[in-house]
Point group: C2
Chain length 234, copies 2
């Protein structure tokens, strides 16, 4: 009788992992805008609402703090991170840094499968644009960019992108409808994919810079326009 000596692709066991669950729950509340930036996140309140003890909540909060979604003030608790225009600018600066690298690497390692997947994603965005569901459209947008990072073949780079996207979702959730014309959102990605398929680094870099530069300006302006609550010093 033969023994199983190699992985066969068994489905991952679903671990209860209360901490992850709490982290997900809090993340959802933040990106959906139910927890506004600057709002206090009381451990006790969260624990009560979820019917669990405070220990897992604390650990989840620390997780989200490292992820940039929460800010911890010692002895005072956790607060939803508020992003200034400068923060958004930093985030987009990093996105450009990361996605330039990712796009070039993805272009070099592009397989027919990933290429087809990217094209399918663009089609999906196109279809989504016809329905009036901004949140889903934005999510599909991130997914497209994420797929490029995934195709780059560097796991840490992908995690980095996820972190940036996670932080940006704070403001995205606030804004609600970001693009006036969702159809443009889908179209805007076509040249980027074509550049990646063509495989000329210069063109790829130019496309990434242009694409993210536009988004950077738009989101930056939006954030700046809707920042009525300026932080006061104690």
């Amino acid at each position: 009788m033969r023994v199983m000596s190699q992985p066969v692709g068994l489905p991952e066991v679903v671990e209860s992992d209360l901490v992850r669950q709490v982290a997900r729950s809090l993340t959802a509340a933040i990106v959906q805008g139910r927890l506004a930036p600057g709002a206090k996140v009381s451990e006790a309140a969260v624990a009560r609402e979820l019917g669990i003890s405070r220990a897992p909540v604390r650990e989840a909060a620390r997780l989200l703090e490292n992820q940039g979604l929460l800010r911890s003030s010692p002895r005072r608790g956790f607060f939803v991170r508020e992003l200034s225009a400068a923060d958004v600018d930093e985030l987009y600066d990093l996105r450009i840094c990361v996605e330039r690298h990712a796009a070039v690497a993805a272009s070099r390692r592009l397989t027919p499968e990933t290429r087809a997947a990217l094209r399918r994603q663009l089609d999906l965005m196109d279809a989504l644009a016809r329905e009036d569901d901004p949140a889903t459209s934005v999510e599909a947008d991130y997914q497209f960019h994420r797929m490029i990072c995934e195709a780059a073949g560097n796991g840490r780079l992908l995690r980095l992108f996820d972190g940036l996207a996670s932080e940006l979702r704070i403001v995205i959730g606030l804004i609600g409808r970001l693009y006036d014309d969702p159809m443009k959102l889908a179209r805007a990605h076509v040249p980027l994919l074509e550049a990646i398929e063509a495989g000329r680094p210069d063109a790829i870099l130019a496309e990434v810079d242009h694409h993210l530069g536009v988004a950077r300006r738009e989101v930056g302006l939006l954030v700046q326009s809707l920042s009525p609550a300026k932080p006061d010093v104690s």
Copy 2:
């Protein structure tokens, strides 16, 4: 009487912050090699040794997990992360991505002060090379690269570099003496600084690629040579 309506640069209060303390303690133990890669980090043992309860230890461990120093296996505890050659390659790939961006940005925003500070750092490295203290030399090396990232003016990018450096220290601590000739270590950085001062992006990128490409190969080879423990499937 006037109230203080703006920050005056008061010295930060030294918070006890047991969690940070534990995190520092564990980090030190890891980078100094007292906790070897793959070693189990028992919460109870750490708590006993530090004379505290397990709760702060748990939170510190989660912190280090997010930082990439520890790996958590649910229901089995925390382990010191072991870096394969592929991991080191990923890390250097990201360093190139980040430091290219940082060097160009630093070049644009270069002030006489930061320029002087960078030159002083190179002098320091040169002086350190004469003493036989590899650990300090490597630390000064990282500090130089860190200063470039700091000069880029993006706080998140700096934190990102710190994270990469922190992960790389796992293997650096293992290796002990990395460079055969520490004098070369100092000299190798001169062209990079000169390119930044000259301010031509192309030259800067080429220098970063060359400098980190060399380090990538050297460290990669070293890690590959001293990886006796190959992971076995269960």
